[in-house]
């Protein structure tokens, strides 16, 4: 398995509170991604990073921000959590775009419940 660690694995919090999820990789891959998984929607891209301090929005980025200060860490922040952000969040990594035939590799997810 690719060296990807997501923390925390589970979190329950209240509406309006800030939440930060962490993804840590040991593979030195350039690309990192945050997805959310919801029934009937599959996986949807929130944000992704193509290098340190280089990030871009995905299809469902509203209400989320990200930061990447080191190659190995990619943080996802919900500034003010809402119940619609209750979901399972997955981090993924991949090698550079020049090798874009390479698959993404996924962490085991964070189950986030917002009450």
């Amino acid at each position: 398995d690719a060296g990807i660690t997501q923390s925390p694995r589970h979190k329950v919090t209240e509406t309006g509170t800030p939440v930060t999820l962490r993804c840590h990789q040991t593979e030195n891959h350039r690309y990192m991604y945050w997805y959310r998984q919801d029934p009937g929607h599959g996986l949807r891209l929130i944000h992704y990073s193509y290098g340190v301090k280089d990030t871009d929005k995905g299809e469902v980025s509203d209400g989320y921000s990200v930061s990447r200060s080191k190659t190995e860490d990619f943080l996802l922040t919900l500034e003010s959590a809402t119940s619609s952000q209750t979901s399972v969040y997955f981090c993924a990594i991949s090698e550079s775009r020049q090798n874009s035939n390479q698959p993404q590799h996924f962490g085991d997810g964070t189950r986030l419940s917002i009450l």
């Binding site: 990807i4 690309y31 991604y33 997805y35 009937g40 929607h41 599959g42 996986l43 949807r44 891209l45 992704y48 193509y50 995905g58 997955f90 993924a92 775009r97 874009s100 035939n101 698959p103 993404q104 590799h105 996924f106 962490g107 085991d108 997810g109």
Partner: protein, 113 residues
């Protein structure tokens, strides 16, 4: 715009029988196609990919997939299903000119003893 369709929410098959999980796609440019499997409380695991070359791609755990350009399909197959194959399967596509992977909504495979 890229899109992926998995028309079946669930596929049921008896152990030992062949299985097929369907996937069709739409993409501009050359397609890069992937199948992933997800077991409970785990992340997605890569099964196989089509980039170019032979239309029949072999992957992990005895799975294979057939790329059909005219039908824009990439169906996942296995000649003889196992109960342990029961899981959620995702098809995904990326075009050759983007970094973003688009996933289907997933198909739950149930293999009965």
């Amino acid at each position: 715009a890229q899109s992926v369709a998995q028309p079946e929410d669930q596929v049921n098959v008896a152990e030992g029988n062949p299985l097929t999980v369907k996937c069709t796609y739409s993409v501009s440019g050359n397609p890069y196609l992937f199948w992933y499997v997800q077991y409970p409380n785990r992340g997605l695991q890569f099964l196989l990919k089509y980039i170019t070359g032979d239309n029949l791609v072999k992957g992990s755990y005895g799975f294979e997939a057939e790329f059909n350009k005219s039908q824009t399909s990439f169906h996942l197959k296995k000649p003889s299903a196992l109960v342990s194959d029961s899981a959620l399967y995702f098809c995904a596509v990326r075009s050759s000119n983007t970094d973003k992977l688009i996933f289907g909504t997933g198909t739950r495979l149930q293999v009965f003893p």
